[in-house]
Amino acid sequence: MFRALLITGLLAVSTPALAQMNPDAPKHGSAHMGDHAGHDHKANPHMGHDMGEIESALKLSDQPELAAALAAGGEPVVAKVLGAVCDFCAKAMNKTFGKRDDVAAVYVDLDAKTLNLVMKPGATMSDKALRKAVKKSGYKVDTIARGTGTLTQADMLTP
């Protein structure tokens, strides 16, 4: 039976439906905004970018706790996350980021497939640190966007 289980496991690994799921390497920087020390700029075409000049495809979710933290002066960070399909995924990232001292608000948007953070005023988080924390949650970051480009018109009108 043990041999049968081993064979079953190997078959599962080699199943084409599973094998083709391995995604491409992370596509970093396409929506990256903001000018912060410690970011991973390897593939970022926007190094030295100006805040607010480049519109991001990733938008901060419309959530009261995010808006409140934004109003307090925190930097918005939005990360596209791979593999987030259920509330357990959201819970994992909420827990991981919720206990960090540098994060003022966190929200995982399953519809948008994004992790939404607003940092505490003056705090920043490098791409490397963000990717590592998402990995500890059990998931993977695709792209990261920061700054005013992640804000909707409604966000910017919020006092």
Partner: protein, 213 residues
């Protein structure tokens, strides 16, 4: 009889689901209870990393009157990520004490269990497979396998109630009815997962619960 009642109460108090994710985020605790047509089990586990968990397990085989208690380790061997999906491959093993209870006077034996689980899911489709074997010495040596398919009529967003309709087919070669068919309903809300089903094969309930801290 009182002992059985206490064990039952304890098992139902600690709810979990073998088909949900048996490894949590780094530092996460999870309570799991599974009840199927043959047994009721409980697992409390902690995940030191996102790749494995360790926990305490109790497994009551109601058909054979065997109670297993021990420690379980689960390894997330591989997780495949996609924009719309996630797939996982887990291996697990448990070791502890197996004892004959109630009508089973077989005594105590060192018991071991091993298993493999694989799943693929989107927000509205779910497929999984699991197989396990146990060696309880003179008490029992057996194996089982099960597969499940499911769909969600809508894609629930964060914090909403997620509803799934699923069908599980299991194969237990040593059982009176080797093939079991169990339709079930899965409800997912926040940190809690609840499943309720009914075995069409031998009129036994399926009741699973999981809570992630």
């Amino acid at each position: 009889m009182l002992r059985i009642a206490l064990i039952t109460a304890a098992l139902f108090a600690f709810t979990s689901d073998a088909f949900a994710r048996p490894v949590s985020y780094t530092g996460g605790w999870t309570l799991i209870e599974d009840t199927d047509r043959q047994s009721t089990s409980a697992l409390v586990h902690y995940s030191p990393s996102q790749e494995y968990s360790v926990g305490l397990k109790a497994d009551w085989d109601r058909n054979s009157d065997i109670l297993f208690t021990g420690v379980q380790g689960t390894w997330l061997a591989k997780r495949w990520f996609g924009e719309e999906h996630q797939a996982n491959l887990y291996f697990w093993g448990a070791a502890g004490l197996a004892e004959g209870i109630d009508s089973n006077k077989g005594g105590d034996e060192v018991g071991t269990q091993i298993g493999v689980m694989a799943d693929w899911e989107t927000r509205q489709l779910f497929v999984s497979y699991r197989a396990s074997a146990r060696d309880y010495g003179s008490l029992d040596k057996s194996a089982m396998q099960a597969a499940r398919v499911g769909f969600a009529p809508y894609a629930g967003d964060t914090g909403e109630l997620h509803t799934w309709f699923m069908l599980e087919v299991d194969n237990r070669p040593d059982a009176d009815e080797p093939i079991g068919v169990t339709p079930l309903l899965r409800l997912f809300y926040g940190s809690a997962l609840f499943e309720a089903g009914w075995s069409l094969t031998d009129d036994q309930p399926l009741l699973n619960f999981q809570y992630r801290f």
